[in-house]
Amino acid sequence: MANELAALSDELAAVVERTKRYVAAVDARPRFYSSGVFWRPGVIVTAEHTIRREEEISVTLADGAQVAASLAGRDPSTDIAVLKVEDSAHEAIPKAGGPPKPGQIALNLGRSPDSGVNATMGIVSAVGGEWRTWRGGRLDHYIRLDLTVYPGSSGGAVVNTAGEALGISTSVLSRIAALAIPTGSVDRVVDEILARGRVTRGYLGVGLQRVELPDHQRGLIVLSLEPEGPGARAGLLIGDILVALGGVPVAETDDIQGLLETHGVGSGIEAELVRGGTARKLTITVGERPRRN
Protein backbone atom coordinates (compact mmCIF):
# COMPACT_ATOMS: atom_id res chain seq x y z
CA MET A 1 0.00 0.00 0.00
CA ALA A 2 1.43 3.31 -1.01
CA ASN A 3 -0.10 6.74 -1.20
CA GLU A 4 0.96 10.24 -2.14
CA LEU A 5 1.34 11.12 1.51
CA ALA A 6 3.79 8.26 2.03
CA ALA A 7 5.76 9.38 -1.04
CA LEU A 8 5.98 12.93 0.35
CA SER A 9 6.91 11.54 3.76
CA ASP A 10 9.75 9.51 2.22
CA GLU A 11 10.96 12.51 0.29
CA LEU A 12 11.05 14.73 3.39
CA ALA A 13 12.91 12.08 5.40
CA ALA A 14 15.37 11.70 2.51
CA VAL A 15 16.05 15.46 2.50
CA VAL A 16 16.84 15.30 6.24
CA GLU A 17 19.06 12.26 5.70
CA ARG A 18 21.00 14.00 2.92
CA THR A 19 21.35 17.35 4.67
CA LYS A 20 21.96 16.35 8.27
CA ARG A 21 25.74 16.18 7.89
CA TYR A 22 25.86 19.97 7.50
CA VAL A 23 24.05 20.57 10.79
CA ALA A 24 25.89 20.72 14.13
CA ALA A 25 24.77 21.08 17.75
CA VAL A 26 26.26 24.18 19.38
CA ASP A 27 27.02 24.28 23.11
CA ALA A 28 27.39 27.96 23.99
CA ARG A 29 24.71 28.60 26.64
CA PRO A 30 23.46 26.94 29.82
CA ARG A 31 20.59 24.38 29.69
CA PHE A 32 19.83 24.47 25.99
CA TYR A 33 21.98 23.61 23.03
CA SER A 34 21.39 25.44 19.81
CA SER A 35 22.10 24.47 16.23
CA GLY A 36 24.56 25.64 13.61
CA VAL A 37 25.25 25.04 9.93
CA PHE A 38 28.48 24.40 7.98
CA TRP A 39 28.25 27.47 5.80
CA ARG A 40 31.77 27.27 4.41
CA PRO A 41 34.51 24.69 4.99
CA GLY A 42 35.46 24.95 8.66
CA VAL A 43 32.95 27.77 9.26
CA ILE A 44 29.72 27.22 11.19
CA VAL A 45 26.99 29.84 11.30
CA THR A 46 24.51 29.94 14.17
CA ALA A 47 21.96 32.33 15.71
CA GLU A 48 23.75 35.08 17.64
CA HIS A 49 21.19 35.15 20.46
CA THR A 50 22.05 31.55 21.42
CA ILE A 51 25.68 32.44 22.16
CA ARG A 52 25.86 33.21 25.88
CA ARG A 53 29.58 32.71 26.36
CA GLU A 54 32.44 33.62 24.08
CA GLU A 55 34.88 30.93 25.20
CA GLU A 56 34.77 27.17 25.71
CA ILE A 57 32.26 26.73 22.92
CA SER A 58 31.97 23.23 21.50
CA VAL A 59 30.00 21.73 18.65
CA THR A 60 28.76 18.19 18.08
CA LEU A 61 29.02 17.07 14.45
CA ALA A 62 26.91 14.61 12.51
CA ASP A 63 29.25 11.71 13.31
CA GLY A 64 28.81 12.41 17.04
CA ALA A 65 32.28 13.89 17.48
CA GLN A 66 32.47 16.81 19.87
CA VAL A 67 35.01 19.42 18.77
CA ALA A 68 36.10 22.80 20.09
CA ALA A 69 34.96 25.89 18.23
CA SER A 70 36.17 29.47 18.42
CA LEU A 71 33.90 32.47 18.05
CA ALA A 72 35.07 34.41 15.00
CA GLY A 73 32.54 37.16 15.59
CA ARG A 74 28.92 38.01 16.21
CA ASP A 75 26.39 40.45 14.80
CA PRO A 76 23.31 40.96 16.98
CA SER A 77 21.71 43.19 14.35
CA THR A 78 21.20 40.26 11.97
CA ASP A 79 21.31 37.54 14.69
CA ILE A 80 24.32 35.87 13.07
CA ALA A 81 27.34 34.42 14.90
CA VAL A 82 30.26 32.79 13.12
CA LEU A 83 32.20 29.88 14.63
CA LYS A 84 35.39 28.29 13.34
CA VAL A 85 36.33 24.65 13.78
CA GLU A 86 39.53 22.77 12.97
CA ASP A 87 37.71 20.43 10.60
CA SER A 88 38.33 22.56 7.54
CA ALA A 89 37.65 19.66 5.20
CA HIS A 90 33.97 19.56 6.18
CA GLU A 91 31.84 20.47 3.19
CA ALA A 92 29.48 23.45 3.26
CA ILE A 93 25.71 23.20 2.78
CA PRO A 94 24.48 23.88 -0.78
CA LYS A 95 22.51 27.15 -1.06
CA ALA A 96 19.29 27.77 -2.97
CA GLY A 97 19.67 29.98 -6.05
CA GLY A 98 17.19 32.75 -5.24
CA PRO A 99 14.70 33.73 -2.57
CA PRO A 100 11.92 31.18 -1.87
CA LYS A 101 8.27 31.62 -2.86
CA PRO A 102 5.44 31.85 -0.37
CA GLY A 103 3.74 28.46 0.00
CA GLN A 104 6.90 26.50 -0.70
CA ILE A 105 7.61 23.63 1.73
CA ALA A 106 10.47 24.29 4.13
CA LEU A 107 12.18 22.19 6.78
CA ASN A 108 14.19 23.45 9.72
CA LEU A 109 17.01 21.11 10.68
CA GLY A 110 18.68 21.24 14.06
CA ARG A 111 20.81 18.92 16.09
CA SER A 112 21.17 17.88 19.73
CA PRO A 113 23.98 15.70 21.04
CA ASP A 114 21.50 13.25 22.67
CA SER A 115 19.12 12.49 19.85
CA GLY A 116 20.98 13.62 16.75
CA VAL A 117 19.39 15.56 13.93
CA ASN A 118 15.91 16.97 14.37
CA ALA A 119 13.41 18.38 11.89
CA THR A 120 10.27 20.45 11.74
CA MET A 121 8.29 21.09 8.58
CA GLY A 122 6.05 23.87 7.34
CA ILE A 123 5.79 26.39 4.56
CA VAL A 124 7.37 29.70 3.70
CA SER A 125 4.48 31.99 4.63
CA ALA A 126 5.71 35.34 3.35
CA VAL A 127 8.61 36.72 1.33
CA GLY A 128 9.34 40.43 1.16
CA GLY A 129 12.09 42.66 -0.13
CA GLU A 130 14.88 44.23 1.84
CA TRP A 131 13.97 44.43 5.52
CA ARG A 132 15.46 46.08 8.57
CA THR A 133 15.36 44.08 11.81
CA TRP A 134 14.35 45.70 15.09
CA ARG A 135 17.98 45.26 16.07
CA GLY A 136 19.01 47.56 13.23
CA GLY A 137 20.45 45.00 10.79
CA ARG A 138 19.53 44.78 7.12
CA LEU A 139 18.34 41.54 5.55
CA ASP A 140 18.14 41.08 1.77
CA HIS A 141 14.68 39.55 2.13
CA TYR A 142 12.05 39.13 4.77
CA ILE A 143 11.38 35.35 4.85
CA ARG A 144 8.63 34.41 7.29
CA LEU A 145 8.19 30.73 8.13
CA ASP A 146 5.07 28.84 9.16
CA LEU A 147 6.98 26.20 11.10
CA THR A 148 7.98 25.86 14.71
CA VAL A 149 11.59 26.54 15.68
CA TYR A 150 11.94 24.75 19.01
CA PRO A 151 14.45 26.15 21.54
CA GLY A 152 17.36 23.90 20.53
CA SER A 153 16.84 24.39 16.80
CA SER A 154 17.43 28.14 16.48
CA GLY A 155 20.43 28.67 14.23
CA GLY A 156 19.56 25.55 12.26
CA ALA A 157 19.31 25.17 8.50
CA VAL A 158 16.09 26.17 6.76
CA VAL A 159 16.07 24.05 3.60
CA ASN A 160 13.77 23.45 0.64
CA THR A 161 12.74 19.99 -0.58
CA ALA A 162 15.90 19.82 -2.68
CA GLY A 163 17.96 20.13 0.51
CA GLU A 164 19.29 23.56 -0.43
CA ALA A 165 19.63 26.19 2.29
CA LEU A 166 17.12 29.04 2.23
CA GLY A 167 18.76 30.55 5.29
CA ILE A 168 19.44 30.24 8.99
CA SER A 169 16.46 30.00 11.34
CA THR A 170 15.87 32.47 14.13
CA SER A 171 13.02 32.95 16.55
CA VAL A 172 14.04 36.37 17.88
CA LEU A 173 13.83 38.72 14.89
CA SER A 174 10.03 38.64 14.77
CA ARG A 175 7.48 38.39 17.53
CA ILE A 176 4.89 36.65 15.38
CA ALA A 177 6.86 34.01 13.49
CA ALA A 178 10.17 32.32 12.94
CA LEU A 179 12.25 33.84 10.16
CA ALA A 180 14.94 32.55 7.84
CA ILE A 181 17.94 34.87 7.66
CA PRO A 182 18.50 34.82 3.87
CA THR A 183 21.62 33.20 2.44
CA GLY A 184 22.88 36.44 0.82
CA SER A 185 22.70 38.29 4.12
CA VAL A 186 24.46 35.43 5.92
CA ASP A 187 27.22 35.51 3.27
CA ARG A 188 27.69 39.26 3.68
CA VAL A 189 27.95 39.02 7.50
CA VAL A 190 30.27 36.00 7.30
CA ASP A 191 32.56 37.85 4.86
CA GLU A 192 32.76 40.86 7.12
CA ILE A 193 33.28 38.86 10.31
CA LEU A 194 36.00 36.69 8.75
CA ALA A 195 37.76 39.80 7.41
CA ARG A 196 37.46 42.05 10.44
CA GLY A 197 36.14 39.95 13.33
CA ARG A 198 33.02 42.06 13.54
CA VAL A 199 30.39 43.90 11.57
CA THR A 200 31.04 47.62 11.62
CA ARG A 201 28.10 49.93 11.32
CA GLY A 202 28.27 53.60 10.54
CA TYR A 203 27.25 56.06 13.23
CA LEU A 204 26.44 59.76 13.34
CA GLY A 205 25.74 60.10 17.06
CA VAL A 206 22.46 61.97 16.55
CA GLY A 207 18.91 61.42 17.76
CA LEU A 208 16.42 62.28 15.02
CA GLN A 209 12.69 62.65 14.57
CA ARG A 210 10.80 63.18 11.34
CA VAL A 211 9.17 66.54 10.75
CA GLU A 212 7.32 68.24 7.92
CA LEU A 213 8.66 71.57 6.73
CA PRO A 214 6.36 74.48 5.69
CA ASP A 215 7.07 73.76 2.00
CA HIS A 216 5.78 70.18 2.55
CA GLN A 217 9.28 68.85 2.24
CA ARG A 218 10.11 66.22 4.86
CA GLY A 219 13.15 66.19 7.07
CA LEU A 220 14.62 64.86 10.30
CA ILE A 221 15.06 67.21 13.25
CA VAL A 222 18.08 66.73 15.50
CA LEU A 223 16.75 66.13 19.03
CA SER A 224 19.96 64.95 20.70
CA LEU A 225 23.66 64.88 19.96
CA GLU A 226 26.22 62.48 21.32
CA PRO A 227 28.91 64.70 22.93
CA GLU A 228 32.06 64.48 20.80
CA GLY A 229 30.12 62.22 18.41
CA PRO A 230 30.59 62.45 14.61
CA GLY A 231 27.63 64.83 14.21
CA ALA A 232 28.68 67.13 17.04
CA ARG A 233 32.26 67.32 15.76
CA ALA A 234 31.04 68.28 12.28
CA GLY A 235 29.20 71.23 13.83
CA LEU A 236 25.65 69.85 13.84
CA LEU A 237 23.38 71.56 16.44
CA ILE A 238 20.24 70.48 18.21
CA GLY A 239 17.29 71.86 16.24
CA ASP A 240 18.94 71.47 12.84
CA ILE A 241 16.68 69.77 10.30
CA LEU A 242 18.45 67.23 8.15
CA VAL A 243 16.95 67.10 4.63
CA ALA A 244 19.55 65.16 2.62
CA LEU A 245 22.55 62.99 3.28
CA GLY A 246 25.11 62.11 0.62
CA GLY A 247 22.90 63.87 -1.91
CA VAL A 248 19.90 61.65 -1.12
CA PRO A 249 16.77 63.21 0.48
CA VAL A 250 16.02 61.76 3.92
CA ALA A 251 12.50 61.55 5.35
CA GLU A 252 12.72 58.55 7.68
CA THR A 253 15.33 57.41 10.20
CA ASP A 254 15.51 54.16 8.18
CA ASP A 255 16.88 56.20 5.26
CA ILE A 256 19.85 57.18 7.42
CA GLN A 257 20.53 53.55 8.42
CA GLY A 258 20.48 52.54 4.77
CA LEU A 259 22.82 55.34 3.68
CA LEU A 260 25.31 54.53 6.44
CA GLU A 261 25.70 51.05 4.99
CA THR A 262 27.04 52.45 1.73
CA HIS A 263 29.21 55.10 3.41
CA GLY A 264 31.76 53.15 5.42
CA VAL A 265 33.26 54.12 8.76
CA GLY A 266 35.82 56.92 8.29
CA SER A 267 34.40 58.31 5.06
CA GLY A 268 32.97 61.79 4.78
CA ILE A 269 29.29 62.30 3.98
CA GLU A 270 27.70 65.58 2.98
CA ALA A 271 24.69 66.64 5.06
CA GLU A 272 22.20 69.20 3.80
CA LEU A 273 20.22 70.85 6.55
CA VAL A 274 17.94 73.74 7.43
CA ARG A 275 19.06 75.90 10.35
CA GLY A 276 16.88 78.89 11.35
CA GLY A 277 15.18 78.82 7.96
CA THR A 278 18.46 78.87 6.03
CA ALA A 279 19.86 75.99 4.02
CA ARG A 280 23.36 74.84 5.02
CA LYS A 281 25.80 72.08 4.18
CA LEU A 282 28.19 70.22 6.46
CA THR A 283 30.53 67.26 5.99
CA ILE A 284 30.27 64.59 8.67
CA THR A 285 32.97 61.96 9.09
CA VAL A 286 31.09 58.69 9.67
CA GLY A 287 32.03 57.06 12.98
CA GLU A 288 31.63 53.50 14.15
CA ARG A 289 28.62 52.56 16.23
CA PRO A 290 29.76 51.83 19.79
CA ARG A 291 29.37 48.16 20.74
CA ARG A 292 26.58 47.39 23.19
CA ASN A 293 27.07 44.72 25.77
Binding site: M1, N3, E4, L12, L107, D114, G116, N118, Y150
Partner: protein, 264 residues
Protein backbone atom coordinates in the same frame (compact mmCIF):
# COMPACT_ATOMS: atom_id res chain seq x y z
CA UNK B 1 -4.57 2.79 -2.64
CA UNK B 2 -5.68 4.48 0.56
CA UNK B 3 -5.67 8.27 0.57
CA UNK B 4 -5.12 10.49 3.58
CA UNK B 5 -8.85 10.53 4.44
CA UNK B 6 -9.09 6.73 4.51
CA UNK B 7 -5.89 6.41 6.53
CA UNK B 8 -7.17 8.94 9.08
CA UNK B 9 -10.62 7.33 9.30
CA UNK B 10 -9.19 3.83 9.88
CA UNK B 11 -7.01 5.21 12.66
CA UNK B 12 -9.90 7.11 14.21
CA UNK B 13 -11.92 3.88 14.44
CA UNK B 14 -9.06 2.10 16.18
CA UNK B 15 -8.68 4.88 18.75
CA UNK B 16 -10.60 4.64 22.04
CA UNK B 17 -11.25 6.89 24.99
CA UNK B 18 -10.14 5.55 28.34
CA UNK B 19 -12.03 6.86 31.38
CA UNK B 20 -11.53 6.37 35.06
CA UNK B 21 -14.63 5.38 37.00
CA UNK B 22 -16.16 8.32 38.90
CA UNK B 23 -13.49 10.72 37.77
CA UNK B 24 -13.24 13.33 35.06
CA UNK B 25 -9.73 12.26 34.14
CA UNK B 26 -8.92 10.01 31.25
CA UNK B 27 -7.11 9.79 27.99
CA UNK B 28 -6.93 7.90 24.76
CA UNK B 29 -5.98 4.38 23.79
CA UNK B 30 -5.44 2.26 20.73
CA UNK B 31 -6.97 -1.09 19.79
CA UNK B 32 -3.85 -3.24 19.39
CA UNK B 33 -5.50 -6.59 18.76
CA UNK B 34 -9.00 -7.14 17.42
CA UNK B 35 -9.93 -9.55 20.22
CA UNK B 36 -10.06 -6.81 22.83
CA UNK B 37 -6.48 -5.78 23.64
CA UNK B 38 -6.14 -2.03 24.10
CA UNK B 39 -2.90 -0.15 24.84
CA UNK B 40 -2.70 3.20 26.61
CA UNK B 41 -0.33 5.12 28.86
CA UNK B 42 0.24 3.84 32.37
CA UNK B 43 -0.50 7.36 33.63
CA UNK B 44 -3.90 7.22 31.91
CA UNK B 45 -4.76 3.77 33.30
CA UNK B 46 -4.44 4.87 36.90
CA UNK B 47 -7.02 2.34 38.19
CA UNK B 48 -7.12 -1.43 37.63
CA UNK B 49 -10.65 -1.22 36.18
CA UNK B 50 -11.53 1.41 33.59
CA UNK B 51 -14.18 2.35 31.08
CA UNK B 52 -13.23 2.05 27.42
CA UNK B 53 -15.37 3.95 24.86
CA UNK B 54 -15.16 2.90 21.21
CA UNK B 55 -15.57 5.23 18.22
CA UNK B 56 -19.10 3.89 17.53
CA UNK B 57 -20.39 4.74 21.00
CA UNK B 58 -20.04 1.27 22.57
CA UNK B 59 -18.72 1.22 26.15
CA UNK B 60 -16.80 -1.62 27.77
CA UNK B 61 -15.35 -2.23 31.16
CA UNK B 62 -11.63 -2.84 30.85
CA UNK B 63 -9.16 -4.54 33.15
CA UNK B 64 -5.46 -3.71 33.25
CA UNK B 65 -3.51 -6.89 32.46
CA UNK B 66 0.04 -5.52 32.28
CA UNK B 67 1.82 -2.29 32.88
CA UNK B 68 5.26 -0.71 32.70
CA UNK B 69 5.29 2.61 34.57
CA UNK B 70 8.88 3.34 33.51
CA UNK B 71 7.87 3.28 29.85
CA UNK B 72 4.43 4.68 30.70
CA UNK B 73 2.43 1.93 28.97
CA UNK B 74 -0.42 -0.32 30.09
CA UNK B 75 -2.40 -3.13 28.43
CA UNK B 76 -6.16 -3.27 28.96
CA UNK B 77 -8.41 -6.22 28.13
CA UNK B 78 -12.04 -5.64 27.11
CA UNK B 79 -14.64 -8.35 26.37
CA UNK B 80 -15.12 -7.61 22.69
CA UNK B 81 -14.18 -9.28 19.41
CA UNK B 82 -13.72 -8.26 15.78
CA UNK B 83 -12.58 -4.78 16.68
CA UNK B 84 -10.81 -2.54 14.13
CA UNK B 85 -7.23 -3.05 15.31
CA UNK B 86 -4.30 -0.98 14.10
CA UNK B 87 -1.33 -2.19 12.11
CA UNK B 88 1.88 -1.62 14.06
CA UNK B 89 4.82 -0.01 12.28
CA UNK B 90 8.50 -0.56 13.01
CA UNK B 91 9.40 2.42 15.20
CA UNK B 92 13.12 1.66 14.91
CA UNK B 93 12.94 2.58 11.22
CA UNK B 94 11.53 6.08 11.85
CA UNK B 95 13.48 8.96 10.36
CA UNK B 96 13.34 12.67 11.28
CA UNK B 97 11.21 14.52 8.73
CA UNK B 98 8.74 11.67 8.17
CA UNK B 99 5.08 12.69 8.23
CA UNK B 100 3.10 11.55 11.26
CA UNK B 101 -0.54 11.68 12.34
CA UNK B 102 -1.73 11.86 15.96
CA UNK B 103 -5.29 10.95 16.98
CA UNK B 104 -6.89 11.16 20.40
CA UNK B 105 -9.32 13.06 22.55
CA UNK B 106 -7.48 16.25 23.46
CA UNK B 107 -9.48 18.36 25.91
CA UNK B 108 -12.48 16.05 25.36
CA UNK B 109 -12.72 16.36 21.54
CA UNK B 110 -13.13 12.77 20.39
CA UNK B 111 -11.16 11.63 17.37
CA UNK B 112 -9.28 14.90 16.91
CA UNK B 113 -6.41 14.67 14.42
CA UNK B 114 -3.19 16.61 14.10
CA UNK B 115 -0.30 16.15 11.72
CA UNK B 116 3.37 16.99 11.71
CA UNK B 117 6.75 15.41 11.22
CA UNK B 118 9.09 13.29 13.31
CA UNK B 119 11.36 15.82 15.04
CA UNK B 120 13.92 13.41 16.47
CA UNK B 121 14.28 9.97 18.02
CA UNK B 122 16.43 9.43 21.10
CA UNK B 123 16.66 9.76 24.86
CA UNK B 124 15.21 12.80 26.64
CA UNK B 125 16.93 14.44 29.62
CA UNK B 126 15.17 13.33 32.81
CA UNK B 127 13.29 10.46 31.12
CA UNK B 128 15.89 7.71 31.45
CA UNK B 129 18.21 6.14 28.89
CA UNK B 130 15.51 4.71 26.69
CA UNK B 131 14.58 6.19 23.33
CA UNK B 132 11.45 8.32 22.71
CA UNK B 133 9.96 9.75 19.56
CA UNK B 134 9.61 13.52 19.45
CA UNK B 135 7.15 14.85 16.90
CA UNK B 136 6.10 18.37 15.99
CA UNK B 137 2.40 17.55 16.33
CA UNK B 138 0.00 19.63 18.38
CA UNK B 139 -1.05 17.60 21.43
CA UNK B 140 -3.11 18.49 24.49
CA UNK B 141 -4.11 16.67 27.68
CA UNK B 142 -6.38 13.81 26.59
CA UNK B 143 -4.12 12.81 23.69
CA UNK B 144 -2.16 10.61 26.09
CA UNK B 145 -2.24 6.94 25.13
CA UNK B 146 -3.52 7.64 21.60
CA UNK B 147 -1.76 6.56 18.42
CA UNK B 148 1.01 8.31 16.52
CA UNK B 149 0.99 6.85 13.01
CA UNK B 150 3.07 7.18 9.85
CA UNK B 151 1.78 8.24 6.43
CA UNK B 152 0.48 4.72 5.74
CA UNK B 153 -1.46 4.66 9.01
CA UNK B 154 0.87 2.22 10.75
CA UNK B 155 1.09 3.01 14.46
CA UNK B 156 4.68 3.92 15.33
CA UNK B 157 4.11 5.26 18.84
CA UNK B 158 1.78 6.07 21.73
CA UNK B 159 1.51 9.81 22.45
CA UNK B 160 2.73 10.17 26.01
CA UNK B 161 3.77 13.69 26.95
CA UNK B 162 4.39 17.25 25.80
CA UNK B 163 7.93 18.51 26.45
CA UNK B 164 8.82 22.11 25.48
CA UNK B 165 5.83 22.11 23.12
CA UNK B 166 6.92 18.95 21.31
CA UNK B 167 4.86 15.78 21.35
CA UNK B 168 6.68 12.85 22.95
CA UNK B 169 5.61 9.31 22.05
CA UNK B 170 6.59 5.89 23.32
CA UNK B 171 8.01 3.93 20.34
CA UNK B 172 5.58 1.22 19.17
CA UNK B 173 8.29 -1.43 19.47
CA UNK B 174 8.50 -0.73 23.22
CA UNK B 175 4.71 -0.94 23.51
CA UNK B 176 4.74 -4.26 21.64
CA UNK B 177 7.30 -5.57 24.13
CA UNK B 178 4.77 -5.17 26.94
CA UNK B 179 2.24 -7.21 24.95
CA UNK B 180 4.84 -9.89 24.17
CA UNK B 181 6.61 -10.13 27.54
CA UNK B 182 4.07 -8.85 30.09
CA UNK B 183 4.79 -6.49 32.98
CA UNK B 184 8.52 -6.01 33.56
CA UNK B 185 9.85 -6.58 37.09
CA UNK B 186 9.01 -3.70 39.38
CA UNK B 187 10.24 -2.71 42.80
CA UNK B 188 6.92 -1.35 44.00
CA UNK B 189 8.33 1.81 45.54
CA UNK B 190 7.67 5.50 44.98
CA UNK B 191 10.91 7.46 44.60
CA UNK B 192 11.95 11.07 44.50
CA UNK B 193 15.42 12.13 43.40
CA UNK B 194 17.39 13.91 46.15
CA UNK B 195 21.02 15.04 46.31
CA UNK B 196 22.41 11.78 47.67
CA UNK B 197 20.25 9.39 45.66
CA UNK B 198 16.58 8.42 45.48
CA UNK B 199 14.35 9.03 48.50
CA UNK B 200 11.81 6.26 49.15
CA UNK B 201 8.47 8.03 49.58
CA UNK B 202 6.44 4.86 49.96
CA UNK B 203 6.56 1.07 49.60
CA UNK B 204 3.62 -0.67 47.92
CA UNK B 205 2.48 -3.42 50.37
CA UNK B 206 1.72 -5.69 47.37
CA UNK B 207 4.99 -4.91 45.56
CA UNK B 208 8.27 -6.78 45.44
CA UNK B 209 10.08 -4.43 47.85
CA UNK B 210 7.47 -4.95 50.61
CA UNK B 211 9.19 -8.19 51.68
CA UNK B 212 12.61 -6.52 51.91
CA UNK B 213 14.02 -4.32 54.66
CA UNK B 214 13.42 -1.17 52.58
CA UNK B 215 11.16 1.43 54.22
CA UNK B 216 9.79 4.89 53.49
CA UNK B 217 12.41 7.51 54.32
CA UNK B 218 15.39 5.42 53.18
CA UNK B 219 17.62 6.84 50.48
CA UNK B 220 18.60 4.48 47.65
CA UNK B 221 22.10 5.16 46.32
CA UNK B 222 22.30 5.70 42.58
CA UNK B 223 20.17 7.29 39.88
CA UNK B 224 16.93 6.36 38.15
CA UNK B 225 18.98 5.28 35.16
CA UNK B 226 21.16 2.95 37.21
CA UNK B 227 18.13 1.46 38.95
CA UNK B 228 16.49 0.99 35.55
CA UNK B 229 19.58 -0.80 34.22
CA UNK B 230 19.61 -3.10 37.29
CA UNK B 231 15.94 -3.98 36.78
CA UNK B 232 16.53 -4.64 33.07
CA UNK B 233 19.51 -6.92 33.79
CA UNK B 234 17.14 -9.85 34.31
CA UNK B 235 18.46 -11.03 37.69
CA UNK B 236 16.00 -12.71 40.02
CA UNK B 237 17.31 -10.95 43.12
CA UNK B 238 18.23 -7.28 43.15
CA UNK B 239 20.79 -5.97 45.63
CA UNK B 240 20.10 -2.38 46.66
CA UNK B 241 22.40 -0.10 48.63
CA UNK B 242 20.75 2.54 50.75
CA UNK B 243 21.17 4.98 53.64
CA UNK B 244 18.99 5.19 56.74
CA UNK B 245 19.67 7.95 59.28
CA UNK B 246 23.48 7.67 59.43
CA UNK B 247 24.76 9.10 56.14
CA UNK B 248 28.12 7.26 56.47
CA UNK B 249 26.72 3.78 56.91
CA UNK B 250 25.68 2.13 53.67
CA UNK B 251 23.10 -0.62 54.21
CA UNK B 252 21.96 -3.33 51.84
CA UNK B 253 18.56 -4.72 50.94
CA UNK B 254 17.71 -7.72 48.76
CA UNK B 255 14.54 -7.68 46.69
CA UNK B 256 13.22 -10.84 45.05
CA UNK B 257 11.70 -9.67 41.76
CA UNK B 258 8.43 -11.15 40.55
CA UNK B 259 8.96 -12.71 37.13
CA UNK B 260 7.10 -11.26 34.16
CA UNK B 261 3.43 -12.17 34.05
CA UNK B 262 1.66 -12.93 30.77
CA UNK B 263 -0.23 -9.98 29.36
CA UNK B 264 -3.24 -12.12 28.57
Amino acid sequence: MAGFGEVAEALRRATVEVRLPESRGGGSGVIWESDGLVLTNSHVARAERLQVDLWDGRHYEGRVTARDPRRDVAAIRIAARDLPAVAAGDSSALRPGELVIAIGSPLGFSGALSTGVVHSVGPIAGMGRASWIRASVRLAPGNSGGPLADALGRVVGLNTAIVNGLGVALPANAAARLVRDGSPPMLGVTLQPVQSGLLVLGVDPRGAAAASSLRAGDILLGSYEELGDALDAGDEVLRLRFLRGDARRVREAYVRLVPRAEAA
